[in-house]
């Protein structure tokens, strides 16, 4: 209660001080969105936000800092309605309006990220310390970015050095979510294991930017840690099996859902040389290490290491032609790290290498031509390709892409493009896209068509793995890429204090890669990957930003999703209705800004079907649809609506120093039944942070 009083007092003090000062200073405009800011993700060329053919959502690094956010999950959940991260057995899994991780592409400065768990990248790797902005483009973008960009692209753009010396140092601290071992005896053989579960909730970072002559350097060091916690069900699960008419209510599970703790360390270096305003050379390298501490006292924990290196050279000839050559390599490894003895065992390795050549021509007024070629090579090492030993598999694809961007007149713009991939296994694959944009006064209309695709993963192609003698998982080298056709129509209005857009879309998926059960020659059940699935998603999104007063902005967004059923079963476990809300107060007092953010993420109730093999085997003669097991049956599942609210107050004490206090999950929401489809928030949690900028 004392902490709440402190928050209110500080807020009141901040508001009062700021109001009194702002009466004499008014230098900020009223537009709720900076439409002149330059973005890159929608077209792969620099373009003003107002001119992008696809609506691009931008979250600035400054906003991230003011909201006290230190992980990408919280940023995206606060910004994108219907975007949710769930904790499943292997870790964190994303769901974006009915689409899973395999249909969403994450990039850092336009480059792919290695290492996955069922399509999910290691989200911990997306370091928010040195972020210029995050660009979110929904819809298919495979014509520009290739495989996996079927439902959206999220591009993290790192900060550039602008001054001779830039220093930023920060620390954030929060109490433990759950103190697992308050009395941890050093003599206990499990001492180290127990200590790992109670790592402090801490983030510390240091960024040093230097610029001398034509050369600039940005060095970033980050450390993060968090404790492990458990969530207990308050209610039992009620399962109704429509195929049999059987209803079963289970007692609340006494086994908790365990959320692992972690600590990670990252260091990165980016060097840039600007030569005669014609040539830009860049080189970067980063190292990342993550220790993930789970609740199993098995004397090992998961350790991840990653090395990323790359560089680029961009030559601009008379401002009309530019040629960019780049190379990126990401080397990601996962180990079983022994807790009590030295050593570790490599269990997973994923490497991607991607050279690229891009030529941009703006010789003719109003026309931008972008053509390029790239080569993607991927290697995967693990235990799923052979029952005998760990093996490495690889695949490559060479790609040519072209895009034309024609501003026909002041009102009309047209963008068209296509991509041709020549894949080692699947041969030629062509992916087109087209956009039409009309701007008149405050109104902008956008019509988009894009095709998307996803090449089968190496696991889906080559998996051959026996699960404890019970069944086989069998890959299929004859798989074809998944495809989708995406159409959207949007209207955007920017006038005075209001910026609003509405986007209606439809997304047809075909050749979806799914597993079907069959009995193998040995008589054992086999789960074989095949192209069988179809799915249709349609939706409507509304975003409204209003600057109610100079110091006050309100942002609300709503998403409605329709997802088709498969053989009568709703397999997409996504809320049809979801929304986000943000209220931002900014005093705009130079050097003494007070910023308050209240952010809400609201997920509506959802009904979906869950395959239950447990019940299945207890029943006779019931047959599940093709996506299930011969012996499986679906039950109707329901998740109630819920909302998570976060509040942060940031005060600039002096120009260089700011502090923040905040609370996550303000109303202490905890799911009654914790599942793969519910919130795994530990409940209300306070934090404070300090940042020094020179």
């Amino acid at each position: 209660m004392k902490r709440v009083s402190l928050v209110i007092s500080l807020l009141w003090y901040g508001c009062a001080a700021s109001f009194s000062e702002v009466l004499v200073q008014d230098t900020t405009g009223f537009a709720p969105v900076d439409l002149e800011q330059v973005v890159v993700t929608a077209t792969r060329t620099l373009k003003k936000l107002k001119d992008t053919p696809v609506i691009t959502q931008v979250v600035s690094g400054q906003q991230i800092g003011e909201r006290g956010l230190t992980n990408i999950q919280d940023v995206l959940q606060q910004e994108v309605p219907g975007l949710n991260f769930q904790e499943v057995g292997f870790g964190t899994s994303i769901d974006l309006q009915g689409l899973g991780a395999k249909n969403i592409l994450f990039l850092v400065d336009g480059e792919r990220i290695a290492g996955d768990n069922s399509g999910n990248i290691d989200y911990q790797r997306l370091n928010l310390t040195n972020v210029e902005r995050i660009e979110i483009v929904k819809g298919a973008s495979s014509a520009l970015y290739g495989s996996q960009a079927m439902g959206g692209v999220i591009n993290v753009i790192t900060k550039k050095v602008r001054n001779d010396v830039e220093v930023s140092a920060g620390a954030k601290f929060a109490p433990l979510f759950q103190e697992n071992y308050p009395d941890n005896d050093k003599d206990n053989p499990q001492y180290r294991f127990r200590r790992h579960l109670d790592k402090p909730n801490l983030t510390a970072d240091l960024t040093l930017g230097l610029k001398k002559g034509v050369i600039s350097s940005a060095t970033t060091v980050t450390y993060k840690s968090s404790d492990a916690y458990q969530l207990f069900n308050k209610k039992g699960v009620t399962k109704f099996f429509p195929a049999t008419g059987v209803t079963k209510t289970e007692d609340p599970s006494t086994s908790p859902t365990n959320i692992s703790g972690y600590e990670d360390f990252a260091v990165s270096e980016r060097l840039t040389a600007e030569i005669a305003n014609r040539l830009t050379l860049k080189a970067y390298a980063s190292h990342y290490e993550l220790n993930k501490y789970d609740f199993t006292p098995d004397n090992v924990f998961e350790q991840t290491e990653d090395w990323t290196v790359g560089g680029s050279a961009e030559y601009r000839h008379d401002d009309r032609h530019s040629l960019l050559a780049s190379f990126n390599r990401d080397h990601y490894q996962r180990y079983d790290k022994y807790e009590k003895i030295p050593g570790r065992e490599l269990t997973y390795e994923n490497n991607i290498s991607q050279p690229r050549l891009t030529y941009v021509n703006t010789a003719k007024d109003g026309v931008t031509i972008c053509v390029g070629a790239e080569h993607l090579f991927e290697e995967l090492y693990g235990d799923r390709f052979s029952s005998e030993r760990n093996e490495t598999r690889s695949q490559w694809a060479t790609t040519f892409f072209a895009q034309g961007d024609w501003k026909v007149n002041e009102t009309l713009s047209v963008v068209g493009g296509a991509r041709a991939d020549i894949h080692e296994v699947h041969g030629l694959n062509v992916t087109p896209k087209a956009s039409l944009m009309a701007q008149t006064g405050p109104l902008t209309l956008r019509l988009n068509y894009a095709m998307g695709y996803r090449t089968p993963t190496l696991k889906e192609l080559y998996m051959k793995w026996n699960n404890q003698g019970m069944f086989w998982l069998i890959g299929n080298p004859d798989l074809k890429p998944e495809r989708n056709n995406y159409v959207s129509l949007s209207a955007e209005v920017n006038k005075g204090r209001v910026s609003a857009n509405m986007n209606a879309y439809a997304n047809w998926f075909s050749e979806k890669i799914e597993g079907i059960w069959a009995t193998g020659e040995s008589g054992m059940q086999e789960y074989r990957y095949t192209n069988i699935g179809k799915n249709r998603l349609m939706g409507l999104e509304v975003n409204v930003r209003v600057r109610a007063a100079r110091m006050l902005a309100v942002h609300g967004s709503y998403s409605h999703l329709y997802s088709s059923k498969t053989d009568g079963y709703q397999l997409t476990a996504t809320s049809p209705n979801s929304a986000t809300f943000r209220l931002e107060f900014n005093s705009h007092v130079p050097n003494h800004e007070t910023v308050f953010n209240l952010c809400g993420s609201i997920l509506g109730a959802k009904d979906y079907s869950v395959l239950d093999a447990i019940e299945t085997f207890g029943m006779t003669g019931e047959s599940a649809p093709t996506t299930g097991s011969d012996n499986g049956a679906y039950y109707d599942a329901h998740t109630d609506s819920y909302s998570i609210w976060d509040a942060t107050l940031t005060q600039n004490v002096i120009k260089m120093l700011s502090f923040s206090i905040g609370v996550n999950n303000l109303f202490d929401y905890k799911a009654d039944i914790v599942s793969f489809n519910s919130s795994v928030s530990p409940g209300r949690n306070f934090f404070c942070s300090l940042r020094l900028k020179i």
């Binding site: 069922s118 199993t296 098995d298």
Partner: protein, 215 residues
Amino acid sequence: MKVKCLFCALAFASAFMGLTACGDDDEPQPDSPAEEAKAQPGVIAGDDGSYTLYRKTNYGDDWIYVSLSTMDTVAVSEENHKESLDWDIAFNRYNVRTNSGTSGNGKGGVYKTSATKFADVKDFPAADEFTVDTEWEITKTPTMSADGVITMTSSASPILSEAITIIIRNGPPDYNISENVYLVRSADGSKIYKFKTVSFFNAKGNSGYYNFMVE
């Protein structure tokens, strides 16, 4: 039947959760031919003061007999283990025998204290408060077999065999380890050892290896 299916479903779910192998209580085989060659009968002392058995036991009556005075294994067969007083304690998966009752002709037995640290156990109970071994159901065929779990009647300490209990939930099984200190009486009845279960894993994270402390 249900147990089998529960295990199938959960194992299937875990199979999709990435490439990383999970810690499991599966086939009771050595981890690799190389490790099998290296595995020598014995009890491995760790730097943390705990001891780990050198191998997993098979399901069924496959027991590793240990002398608590020498902290080494004792070679006795299943046919003549009852007559031997050279062993004090024996392990089969998470089942534990003492040299007493239906398991042996010795004067062994177990008492479960309420203490969680050895230092907190200052007094020993009277001799008749120790529980001797009785008939005990152990797993003969594990869950991955077509017929599901098949148990068999064997002999073990009903107290100490519950120091580890299995919890089945999403992913691989979890092992709930008792925090209590147990008192184990030696085969000849002359000594009482403080015993505490630490985990069911060896130092490399392989399940099925009984890990314990003794004083």
